[in-house]
């Protein structure tokens, strides 16, 4: 007689075995490292050799006295605002055009999606040339083009403008991600049943009003997920800035600050503190979204 595994165990055991490698890996490499990073952030270790001592989170306050840090936060916020708004608007607009039925839609779709396949590092190098800030007579890229079109007045400092430089830095990111947003919206548009639009039209709604009052309100989930995806990309931006400007103060952002603190300044506590701030900022975006989507699942 063979011993039989109780039925209840038989129900959950295979499932558990199946997911346990992933639980272990996520536990170690995500939550374990988050813990380790946070521990380092409150360690008060501003060099690599001091012993560990708990600083009660003082470094989260002290960091703001670092001359480079407030600027990095300002840059990240400006970049995020321009990038997220720009990519959402441009993406929605492109999707709207597609939805209206354009000839060769498939090829346009591919063209707009393509930039997403390029890495930020590669497109950054190209945009570095395009956004050369020299005056038209010795510029390359867009400023040179403006000069040759006798539009010299349009030439500008791009990302080297001390106030609005980070807005220019968002242009390549918008170029790169708006195709993706377009794809999200297009799927959303296609998901709105034709009957609803018909009904609105029968009631005398103009085409604009159909989109304004019927289609877009149904796309709130799409907008929200696009917002989250763009928002967290933008807060963590590193490679794009690195490719275009390198580690210069004029385009300093938190992710670059982490790199500089850990690898150049040899200050692990500051690096970990910045990484924790980044995590918190992203969590601020993601957690409400998770709560909201779990609730939406339940009501379904």
């Amino acid at each position: 007689m063979t011993r039989r595994v109780p039925r209840r165990v038989r129900n959950w055991l295979p499932g558990l075995l199946l997911v346990s490698p992933s639980i272990l890996a996520v536990g170690l490499f995500v939550y374990g490292l988050i813990f380790w990073n946070t521990r380092e952030a409150v360690s008060g270790r501003h060099d690599e050799i001091s012993p560990y001592r708990f600083d009660k989170g003082r470094n989260f306050v002290d960091l703001w006295d670092q001359p480079s840090w407030p600027g990095a936060v300002k840059h990240a916020l400006l970049f995020t605002a321009v990038f997220v708004a720009g990519a959402l608007l441009l993406g929605a607009f492109l999707a709207f055009l597609m939805d209206k039925g354009i000839r060769g839609e498939a090829s346009f779709r591919v063209v707009y999606l393509f930039p997403m396949a390029v890495s930020f590092i590669a497109s950054g190098v190209v945009w570095r040339w395009l956004m050369n800030p020299a005056p038209p007579e010795r510029a390359v890229g867009l400023n040179q083009l403006f000069g040759e079109l006798h539009l010299g007045a349009l030439a500008n400092g791009w990302w080297q403008d001390p106030e609005w430089g980070m807005a220019a830095m968002a242009l390549p990111a918008i170029w790169q991600m708006s195709g993706y947003v377009m794809a999200l919206y297009l799927a959303g548009f296609r998901g709105v049943p034709e009957e609803l639009r018909e009904a609105a039209r029968v009631d005398g709604a103009s085409e604009w009003k159909v989109y304004r009052h019927v289609v877009f309100p149904q796309l709130r989930p799409v907008t929200l997920s696009a917002l989250i995806i763009l928002g967290h990309i933008s807060l963590k931006v590193f490679d794009l800035v690195m490719a275009i400007a390198g580690k210069q103060i004029i385009t300093y952002v938190p992710a670059i600050a982490t790199y500089v603190e850990v690898l150049d300044r040899h200050d692990p506590a500051n690096g970990a503190t910045i990484a924790t701030y980044l995590l918190l900022a992203v969590a601020l975006l993601v957690i409400p979204y998770l709560v909201w989507s779990v609730r939406a699942e339940r009501t379904r």
């Binding site: 490292l33 380092e40 020299a134 001390p162 580690k247 103060i249 982490t258 690898l263 150049d264 300044r265």
Partner: protein
Amino acid sequence: MAVAAVAVTGALAAAGCGGGSTGSNDTSEVEVFSWWTGAGEADGLAAMKADFEKRNPGTKFTNAAIAGGSGTQAQAVLASRLQNRKPPDSFQGHAGAELLDYIKAGQIEPLDSFYDENRLKAAYPEQLLQQITYQGRIYSVPVNIHRSNVLWYNPGVLKDAGISAPPKSIAEFIADLKAVKAKTKKVPLSLGAQWTADHLLENVLLGDLGTDAYNALWKPGADWGTPAVGKALGDFGEIMGYTTQEAASTDWQGAAKAVVDGRAAFNIMGDWAYGYFTGNAPNGLGKKLDTDFKYAPSPGTDGTYMWLSDSFTLPRNAPHRGGAIAWLKEASSKEGQDLFNPKKGSIPARKDADRTLYKGYLEYAFNEWNKPGVKLAGSFWHGVNASKKQHTDIDTAVGLFLQNKDVAKLQAGLVSAAKNSGQ
């Protein structure tokens, strides 16, 4: 992100190595870690490697070079290897205070007995040894010397501006910049990304303060708040007014090229620019000294050699300590340095090298380095006298200055950078 990367490799390495090796005299192999992958320097390394293999037939040479200008990428990789206690047998580092973090962390060994055994203390200039000594001990073996304080200029543009000779002081320099701006349509002083402004800063400080006061700035407890420093920073700010608005989007090559192409009058950059100017395409511009460009000591620094040096170290617990010692012998030898330096475009740190091998600008540099009575000053930007913390903090202060142009804030930033230097 970087923290996470370091942590991941850390965790993996901890899992991977069990016992951990202690220093052995294993000479079967040597892994040499450097960032010499560019044109010239890679050839120089290959020449030294060939000589090393001839003299040490039993030792396998592994070249662990990592690409990336002035070693930024390489140093990130090195940091994680050292933290994982998997050091290479010998690694490249700028001689001087840049090695402080490794010294304090006990990651590299002092080399005094190595210097004594090989009678190196007589072979290197005394001032050089003084400037790389930390708490009475020496931790690295310099292979080459580069010069930071070189003024490159375009003779044609200077002629158009009515300037007959290169400026001899900072005041003359400012007057010349003004003349170029008034009389030609050229850029008075070409500049590149933020770090080239740091490079300019060290040259203006040296030119204005003089060698002794400049060197004193890097002693522990030095005062950066003095009116003399304030005046030098004021001059720095004024000089910055003659640079280009697009500086941040060019590296040093673009800035240096503007001079030999006749688009700019002056550029202050280390002597690696010479190899770039005169070398053949694709790595050089194929330009001629005297017709396309000329050089002079940067203003106010004649008689002083602001030096920087690549050196090699002996990591604690190097897996093949014997091999590492053999490599350090090669790197410190007259033969090794004379093989490496003509190719790299630098001069040997040793005093007894073969002067006939160094031509053109290098002949000038060789003679200046070995001239009796020459004063040495360390280049802070290139690792000689600032810890990495102070180095980064000065860079930040300069970066902020490029935006707000506020000299008082720059000085305050430099004062606190010195205070927090940890030296």
